[in-house]
C-alpha cells in the first residue's frame, strides 16, 4: 500500500507542505493573512471571497483568539457557503498557531480540502497579533500582512518581520487618513524603504473595487503556483 513518499523531499517541512495531494493532483494554494487587531484582515478576506468566488473554488480558515467571531462574521456575511469556512482555536497564542505549532491549522486546511474536493485557494486568517507575527512556510505558501493608517502613521517606519518580509503588505483604511491626521506620503516613503523590492498596496476597502489590487496579486500567485506545481 502506497502511503507516502519514502524519502522526505528537501523543501518539505511537514507532511503537508508537499505541493501535491496523495492522488497526485495539486493541492490548494494557501495564503496567510496576518496583522494587528482591527487592521482589516477579516474585511480583506471577505472582500477577496466576494471578488474571486465566482471564478475560483475558495475556502477560509480563521484563527480567533477566544471566540469564533471572525468565522461567524464571514458566515453571516455569506461571503462563502458555511461549509467552506473553518475556525481554529489558538489557546491565547495566535502567533503560535500560525508559526511555532501549525498542526491545528494544517488539519483544518486539509479537512476543508477533503470535504470540498478540489479547492483552488485557502485563505488562512491569523488572529489579531503584533508586528512580529508571521506564518510558517510549512503552513502558508505566501503571506499578506495587513496594517492600517488609523493605528499610527509611524507603523511602517517601525518595521518588524510582518512589514519587512511578508510577500504583500497592505496599508489599509487610507480613506481614514484625513480624519486621524495620518501622513500618507510619509507612510509610503517609509514603506518603500522597509520593503525594498517587495510589493505593497495602499487600500481602502470601503471604496468600490478597493480590493482589486489584492485580488490581482493573489490571482498572479495562484497562476505562478500552478505553473510550479505542474512542472
Amino acid at each position: 500500500m502506497h502511503l507516502d513518499h519514502p524519502v522526505t523531499l528537501p523543501q518539505r517541512h511537514t507532511y503537508s507542505a508537499d505541493p501535491h495531494r496523495p492522488d497526485g493532483s495539486p493541492r490548494a494554494l494557501r495564503i496567510g493573512f496576518g496583522g494587528p487587531v482591527g487592521s482589516g484582515k477579516t474585511a480583506t478576506v471577505a472582500a477577496l471571497c466576494r471578488a474571486l468566488r465566482d471564478r475560483l473554488s475558495l475556502a477560509v480558515v480563521t484563527n480567533d483568539i477566544y471566540t469564533q467571531e471572525d468565522a461567524a462574521f464571514l458566515r453571516r456575511e455569506a461571503v462563502l457557503p458555511p461549509e467552506r469556512i473553518s475556525a481554529v482555536e489558538t489557546g491565547a497564542c495566535p502567533h503560535t498557531a500560525i508559526r511555532d505549532d501549525i498542526s491545528a491549522n494544517l488539519e483544518a486546511v486539509e479537512q476543508l480540502e477533503q470535504a470540498l474536493g478540489p479547492v483552488d485557494m485557502v485563505l488562512i486568517e491569523s488572529g489579531g497579533d503584533n508586528l512580529t507575527a508571521t506564518f510558517s512556510r510549512g503552513l502558508a505558501d505566501a503571506q499578506v500582512f495587513v496594517i492600517d493608517v488609523a493605528s499610527g502613521d509611524d507603523i511602517p517606519r517601525k518595521g518588524g518581520p510582518g512589514i519587512t518580509t511578508a510577500d504583500l503588505l497592505l496599508v489599509n483604511k487610507t480613506d481614514l487618513a484625513p480624519y486621524v491626521g495620518a501622513d500618507l506620503e510619509a507612510m509610503r516613503a517609509d514603506t518603500r524603504r522597509q520593503r525594498k523590492d517587495l510589493p505593497f498596496v495602499f487600500t481602502s476597502l470601503t471604496s468600490d473595487d478597493g480590493i482589486r489590487p489584492v485580488a490581482e496579486w493573489v490571482t498572479e500567485r495562484l497562476a505562478a503556483w500552478r505553473a510550479g506545481a505542474t512542472r
Binding site: L3, Y66, T67, Q68, G91, A92, C93, D100, I102, A104
Partner: protein, 224 residues
C-alpha cells in the same frame, strides 16, 4: 535509548497542538477552583493520579509494541466523556503528524492509515516513543508529565500567574510523576499475560463533567 529523544518529545514546544488545550484548567479557573499556586498544585496532583496515570499506562503499553488499535479501544473505554474522546483523538492526530515528520517510520504510517480520524493521544504517544527509540517507562514518563505540564502553562495564561510559581509546582510534582510513570509501566508489563484490563482505568468525574460544559461554551481561550 537516547535520553535526548525524550526531551524532544516531552518539550512543551513540540509542535503537536497542545498549546491550544488547557487540560481542564480553563474550566477550573472559571469556576474559581484554581486561583493560586496552591490550588494549581492540587489540580495538577489530581489530574496526574487520574487522567495522567491512565494515559501513562496506555502510552507504556503502546511503547511496548502491543496492538495500538486494541489500545485505542481500551482508551475509549477509559474516556467516558464524548468531548474528551474528541479532544484525545484530535491531539492524537496532531501528534502523529508532527511525529511522522520527526521520526518517520512504518509503525506511524500504519496508525495514520488505520485510524485516519485519529487515535487517542496517549496511545499515539507510546507508538511515537517506540519510534524514537524510547522504552516503555520513558513513554509513561512523557504521558505523566504531559498531564500536568499543559494545565500549568494554561494557568499562567489564564490567571496571569507568576510563571516561576507554576514551574515550581511542576518541580514539586516531579517525584509523584516518577511514581505514577513507574506504576503505569509495571501495569503495562502485565498486558501480555492479562490483556488491556491490566492497565489503569482511573477517571476524574469532575474533569469529565467540566470538559463537556467547556466544550459547549461560545467564548473560550482554549479548545479544551
Amino acid at each position: 535509548m537516547s535520553r535526548t529523544a525524550l526531551l524532544v518529545l516531552a518539550d512543551g514546544r513540540f509542535p503537536a497542538g497542545g498549546h491550544a488545550h488547557s487540560g481542564g484548567m480553563e474550566a477550573a479557573v472559571a469556576s474559581g477552583t484554581v486561583h493560586d499556586p496552591a490550588s494549581l498544585e492540587a489540580f495538577c496532583r489530581g489530574r496526574l493520579h487520574t487522567a495522567g496515570l491512565t494515559a501513562a499506562g496506555l502510552a507504556a503499553a503502546a511503547a511496548t509494541g502491543h496492538d495500538p488499535l486494541a489500545l485505542d479501544d481500551a482508551a475509549d473505554a477509559r474516556t467516558p466523556a464524548p468531548a474528551l474522546r474528541h479532544v484525545a483523538r484530535r491531539l492524537g492526530r496532531q501528534l502523529l503528524r508532527a511525529a511522522r515528520a520527526t521520526w518517520p517510520c512504518a509503525d506511524l504510517d500504519h496508525l495514520a492509515h488505520h485510524r485516519p480520524g485519529g487515535m487517542h493521544q496517549p496511545v499515539v504517544l507510546g507508538v511515537v516513543a517506540r519510534a524514537a527509540g524510547l522504552p516503555p517507562p520513558e513513554a509513561a514518563h512523557a504521558a505523566a508529565f504531559d498531564s500536568v505540564s499543559g494545565p500549568a502553562t494554561a494557568a499562567v495564561r489564564l490567571l496571569s500567574l507568576d510563571p516561576f510559581d507554576a514551574t515550581a509546582v511542576l518541580a514539586r510534582l516531579a517525584g509523584e510523576c516518577d511514581a505514577v510513570a513507574a506504576t503505569a509501566a509495571e501495569a503495562a508489563e502485565r498486558v501480555a499475560s492479562d490483556g488491556v484490563a491490566a492497565l489503569p482505568a482511573v477517571s476524574a468525574p469532575l474533569l469529565d463533567i467540566t470538559a463537556e460544559q467547556h466544550a459547549a461554551l461560545a467564548v473560550r481561550l482554549f479548545a479544551s
